[in-house]
């Protein structure tokens, strides 16, 4: 020992001691840190952690530090990943301003951040998961006739008979379904965002949901077979055209009929 201590003033000694200390800390950390078994779920917990960070920065000011919500703001416990993917993925959340309802806009978070947020919220409490591509094969699993029936009973009163959207009370509205992603529509039915009621898997089975989507996609891709569709919103535009254009033309003609020729 004395032999070693004798060299303590040696110029190399500083670096040697530092090196030994660092090695000790390094080994100690690997011994004490989570074992290899946890590495498999590491990616997921990393996403949850990442989501938690985003949540604390971007969402917690309204939804609360533990996503518990308040009297004005809904809790996120039990809403599931599907709800987060719908709200954040379509840009409805975070809210831009406290208007009648959250509107679709350019998403604030990219796909990765949205997934992390969804993973975090899903880790808090159980709720509907984001449907995967295999669950969304509406071309294979849906029936357009059944979808039409379901749509007319369950959806048409708000979203219009051709899915063009429509007005609700006090400035709220049901958005158009034209050009909406399959996953988004599926998640909306599953989670019931904002004014929309929930259509759970046991009142509207997954297969029935795909039928509804197939019907909407059918309407979406339908070409104008019989002249102008006038926005497919029904009697309002049709009446406007008939009264303004049709009557205008008739008035013009009657003025011409009554005018004396020179």
């Amino acid at each position: 020992m004395k032999k070693i201590l004798r060299h303590r003033r040696h110029p190399v000694a500083h670096f040697l001691v530092l090196g030994i200390a660092l090695l000790a800390i390094g080994f100690g950390y690997t011994l004490l840190s989570p074992s290899n078994a946890a590495v498999a779920t590491n990616a997921r917990s990393q996403a949850v952690e990442e989501g938690r960070q985003i949540f604390l920065k971007g969402c917690s000011s309204c939804h609360g530090l533990n996503a518990e919500g308040s009297t004005q703001v809904p809790t996120l416990l039990g809403v599931g990943a599907a709800s987060v993917d719908f709200q954040v993925g379509t840009g409805r959340m975070p809210l831009a301003n406290a208007s009648q309802q959250a509107m679709r806009k350019t998403p604030v978070y990219n796909a990765e951040e949205t997934a992390a947020l969804a993973a975090y919220v899903a880790s808090l409490s159980t709720g509907p998961a984001i449907p995967n591509a295999a669950q969304l094969n509406y071309e294979r699993d849906g029936s357009i006739a059944e979808g039409g029936q379901l749509f007319r009973t369950n959806c048409a009163m708000c979203h219009n008979y051709a899915g063009q959207g429509g007005a609700l009370t006090q400035g709220k509205y049901a958005p158009t379904l034209m050009g909406v992603q399959v996953k988004t529509m599926y998640e909306a039915m599953l989670t019931g965002p904002q004014s929309m009621p929930v259509f759970g898997d046991r009142t509207l089975t997954p297969q029935q949901k795909l039928s509804v989507i197939k019907f909407i996609k059918g309407v979406d891709s339908e070409k104008g077979q019989g002249g102008f569709s006038l926005g497919k919103v029904g009697p309002v535009t049709e009446g406007l055209v008939a009264w303004v254009l049709g009557l205008g033309l008739l008035i013009g003609v009657s003025v011409w009929l009554g005018a004396k020729s020179k």
Binding site: C158, G192, S195, P197, G227
Partner: protein, 344 residues
Amino acid sequence: MTDTHSAPEHSGHQSSTALSPLADPGLPPHVYRRADTEPSAAKKAERQVAILFGLSAASTIAFIASFVGINKDVFVFIPLFGSTQAQQLALGITLALSLFLIGAGAVHWAKTLMPDHEVIQERHELRSSDEDRQGVIDVFHEGAEAAGLGRRSLIKRTLLGSVGLVTLTPILLLRDLGPLPRKQLETTNWAAGRRLITDPGGIVLKAADLQVGSVAHVLPEMPKGSETTLNDLVKDAVIVVRLRPEDLNLPADRKDWVHEGIIAFSKICSHMGCAVGLYEQQTHHLLCPCHQSTFDVETGAQVIFGPAARPLPQLAITIDSEGYLIAKQGFMEPVGPSFWERSS
């Protein structure tokens, strides 16, 4: 010029003396059109009419050509109007033009070339002369006398009786138009123990199937073999929603008409009978899309806005031993809009 100057003086002079009826002003002087006086203008107008008729004919030929020539799956994009089928568009425009141009040509012809002199139609008195009138009366009396209407009263009475009776026949046939409504307007297929099935979809609902905030459109499950018609559907349609039990604020006698926040109402609007299907999950309002009557689910579908006069009838529900949702009893009042014999 002198005429217009003297006119006010003239009328001023008249008003100071006795009122006299206005003199017949006669017809205004006839203004001749250019086509009346200039042969070249008449020729031009003739050409214009011919062009209009000719264009109409060309348009009709274009109509035939587009019917034959344009393929049905050709679509064109029109700015502001969007994509539309080319053939239908061409048929519509050409047919409208060919009809309109015939009319336009005829009107132009009448206005420029046909005589436009004002003509006064002479009228005479409508009343017939006194001799003619007396003649008709005499003939009538003569006929009645000859037929013996005054003397043969048996014939007169039986004739009146038979004519009177025969007028009853169409009234009797009216009864054959269909069965009487009886109590149909006051009854539905809902009865104690009937299970709730989704329509369309046919899922027999359990209480656990409905999450808070969810909605289902249901009909009563009918016994095997029984027939239901659209008339049944329009009375039986029911909407089921689930909210948190603490959100409900029902009258005391209806507290046990719900099961753990699951509440059911007739979907037929009490105003005009539209399907009240528009449910706002956050406000718990049910909205009729026809006239915007708004019903508050929390207080048992009381009307909070719109023309409806009564709340939606509530269907009392409970669960059976297997957990299926069932009706506790039928509707306690007629569903749908008011009708003449409605008791309440």
